[in-house]
């Protein structure tokens, strides 16, 4: 799994968990907020319903008094109807906002019933009042009672209101009851004061007493529940209760008592009216205060819920933003640079040295990795350049070697052309072998004669080997050839060699050689051994004898003298001359081939012809070396005195 995928998975998982948790909280807070909004709307609807009830109390009172013939009552009644309509419209709008169809329908029914009551009231105004008045009053009372029930139904649906709010609700209920009873009492007493001789007097008085008592109870309840609420409210409740107890209630009791015993109320009528108006106004003010407190409280709760919801919403956005920003940072700072480094590394690994490296000025791990990669690339480029240079150098070396080798091969061909082919000359048959250790050779040999003179031969081995030795060998070959061709009659071989030695340039390498002459007709041979291994004389009978006891090489001491070795050389005798490349050739353990081994080989091959004998020697050498390679040039020259003319083609 790549780092990118791992990080993506990690980030998505963490981000999803975070966002889910916050979203759950957001959803919960959204629910709380909706609930708070509903509570506030419901409260507002109840507020309007309560006002509507108050307006309908007023309308009931004005209508009732108007029907009983109070002065100016019809005008008041119309005014109060207009006001109740306005308040009822308000209540209907509040219920519509609450989306409570049932309550809206119930309200509409109630309004129909109010409209019907108004129709009955108008009919009663134009005709005789009588018993219809009490029916209309009770009709209003029933409507208002149902309206208050509707309010209680709405209140019942609200669950979980806080203690402060529910305390206000309870006070509102008591104030509602108080307002109702005050209104009933006021209407009934007003009616009683208007019609002293009404037939319904005893029951109206009775109802007035009851409602007066209920209002007293409501005031007591208000007092008992008013303890846990705020100062503003406490003041208004105190105002209401103290006015009720000190001013209103005594007057009320007094009026009712006088109405009951039939005495005149004239002295207190106006005081009673004023008190009833004032207590109703005070109670209504208290109700408004309670409304305001509830509204404020619920609004506060709603705002709290909204704030919490906004907080969670903000947290959700912040969480998403943090995850996104974190991911962006990780991608920009870690994942993308790593992927660029990875690409560059792969390219380098594949040998693509032209691949660009990611540029960065960072000093953290990524920066160090990029720097290191830059070093790797530089090293790789240097290595590749070195490799190219090595290859080019190798190529040049190869080319140079090829040229040198071709040169050497050409030189070797030229040098080989100096050597005589197997031949017969002046009664002597000869055959030579020369194997350079490396193309060109410090060894050389030749067989030649002056016109009608004896056959001369020489074998040369220049000290060292390689190009210098090969050039010196060619020079010495030429020098010796010239010396042989210029030999004066009667000049001894030793004398010739001493001359050669004297004339040999001091700065050139010295060389060893065998220089000899053969005269098979006379049966004689002579040679000078100049630092060269002793030649072997193979007698016709099979005997083998080394010739000479050594001698100075040419070019060591300018004034040196040399010895001439004389021997008999009759037909059938053979002379084998070899260079130290044969006798000193070493096997793998470093043992030299040696003169002794050569001597044994030659004795064993005494019966072989020249070709076969030379072949057996080179074969033995190859076997000794276990290879075709030689460390030093190797030369073999065999000369044989021809026995008779018939032997010429003999391959003995």
């Amino acid at each position: 799994m790549s780092i990118r995928r791992t990080l993506i998975t990690l980030f998505l998982a963490l981000g999803a968990a975070l966002c889910l948790a916050v979203a759950v909280q957001l959803r919960s807070s959204l629910g709380d907020y909706r609930e708070a909004v509903d509570l506030a709307r419901s409260n507002l609807a109840r507020e309007h319903i309560s006002r509507a009830a108050l307006a309908l109390y007023q309308e009931r009172t004005e209508t009732y008094l108007g029907l009983l013939g109070a002065t100016g009552a019809p005008v008041h009644a119309r005014e109060s109807r207009r006001q109740s309509e306005a308040v009822l419209d308000e209540a209907a709008r509040a219920l519509a906002r609450l989306r409570d169809r049932d309550a809206l329908a119930a309200l509409a029914t109630l309004r129909d019933r109010v409209a019907a009551l108004r129709g009955r009231a108008e009919a009663a105004e134009s005709g005789p009042a009588g018993a219809a008045v009490a029916g209309i009053f009770d009709g209003y009372t029933a409507v208002v009672s149902d309206l208050r029930s509707l309010r209680l139904v709405l209140l019942g649906r609200e669950a979980g209101a806080d203690p402060q709010t529910s305390g206000a609700f309870r006070l509102r209920t008591h104030v509602g009851v108080l307002l109702d009873d005050l209104a009933v009492t006021r209407a009934l007493i007003g009616g009683l004061l208007l019609s002293d001789s009404s037939g319904s007097r005893p029951s109206a008085l009775d109802r007035a007493w009851r409602s007066a008592n209920r209002s007293e109870l409501a005031v007591e309840l208000l007092e008992s529940h008013a303890l846990a609420v705020d100062q503003r409210l406490q003041g208004r409740i105190n105002t209401l209760t103290s006015f009720y107890r000190t001013a209103y209630h005594p007057t009320e009791t007094q009026v009712l008592s006088r109405l009951a015993d039939g005495s005149s109320t004239a002295s207190i009528d106006s005081r009673w009216n004023e008190g009833a108006r004032q207590v109703a106004t005070t109670a209504a003010n208290l109700q408004e205060t309670l409304f305001a407190i509830s509204r404020d409280r619920l609004d506060l709760l709603r705002r709290d819920a909204l704030r919490i919801m906004i907080l969670w919403g903000g947290l959700l956005l912040a969480g998403v933003a943090a995850v996104a920003a974190g991911w962006r940072v990780v991608v920009h700072q870690v994942v993308a640079p790593l992927e660029r480094l990875r690409g560059a590394m792969l390219a380098l690994a594949e040998g693509n040295l032209a691949a660009p490296l990611p540029e960065t000025a960072r000093r953290d791990e990524i920066g160090v990795m990029a720097d290191t990669l830059r070093v790797f690339k530089a090293n790789a480029i240097r290595r590749a350049r070195l490799q190219d240079e090595r290859l080019a150098l190798h190529e040049r070396l190869q080319e140079t070697y090829r040229l040198l080798r071709r040169d050497l091969e050409s030189a070797a061909a030229v040098q080989a052309a100096l050597l005589p082919a197997p031949a017969r000359i002046g009664g002597v048959r000869f055959q030579g072998r020369l194997r350079p250790s490396n193309f060109i050779s410090g060894d050389t040999y030749d067989v030649l004669r002056q016109p009608n003179g004896p056959v001369h031969f020489f074998v040369i081995d220049v000290a060292g080997h390689g190009a210098a030795a090969a050039l010196v060998s060619v020079a010495s070959h030429y020098t010796l050839t010239q010396a042989i061709l210029r030999r004066r009659a009667g000049e001894g071989l030793a004398e010739t060699v001493a001359g050669l030695n004297r004339d040999w340039p001091d700065h050139l390498p010295y060389f060893t050689m065998i220089l000899g002459e053969l005269d098979p007709e006379a049966g004689q041979g002579a040679l000078v051994q100049s630092g060269h291994p002793p030649p072997l004389l193979l007698r016709r009978g099979g005997a083998v004898e080394p010739l000479g006891e050594g001698g100075l090489p040419i070019g060591v001491l300018p004034g040196a003298s040399f010895d001439e070795v004389r021997f008999t050389f009759r037909p059938g005798d053979r002379l084998l001359i070899y260079s130290d490349g044969l006798s000193e050739a070493e096997d793998r353990e470093g043992h030299p081939f040696s003169e002794e081994r050569l001597l044994e080989l030659v004795r064993a091959g005494a019966g072989l012809g020249p070709e076969a004998l030379l072949g057996s020697i080179t074969e033995a050498l190859r076997g000794w070396r276990a290879s075709d390679d030689l460390d030093d040039d190797m030369t073999l020259l065999m000369l044989e005195a021809i026995q008779d003319e018939h032997d010429r083609g003999d391959a003995r």
């Binding site: 060292g464 630092g531 002793p534 050594g550 100075l552 000193e584 030299p592």
Partner: protein, 112 residues
């Protein structure tokens, strides 16, 4: 070139520690000998007792040293044996170089 040297009196003794004195070693020996001769040493003993094989290149190096010494002094060879001694005989170098069986014998000859 494996070689040790010491002064015995006025004689410089060089001991060659090479078993083979062939074309691969000869140029270096030649340089060493010439350098010492040119440094003023006119009595040198070269001990070859550790050397088992010498070819014409090695002999050439000795000859070069000898030529450089000329008539000024002596280059003596000590401890030549086996193939080395045979090469001296074959080339008659035993007549050119002062050959001694050992360094002590050579030094005795010099009177040291």
């Amino acid at each position: 070139m494996n070689m040790t040297e010491e002064m015995r009196g006025e004689v410089l003794v060089l001991r060659l520690a090479e078993a083979r004195l062939d074309a691969s070693k000869a140029p270096a020996l030649r340089e060493e000998l010439i350098r010492r001769v040119e440094a003023g040493h006119d009595r040198i003993v070269l001990d070859l007792s550790a050397t088992e094989f010498m070819d014409s290149s090695g002999l050439g190096a000795l000859v070069s040293g000898l030529k450089r010494m000329g008539a000024r002094g002596t280059l003596a060879i000590a401890g030549a044996q086996g193939a080395v001694a045979r090469l001296f005989q074959l080339t008659r170098m035993d007549r050119v170089f002062a050959l001694h069986p050992s360094t002590d014998a050579a030094l005795a000859q010099f009177g040291v």
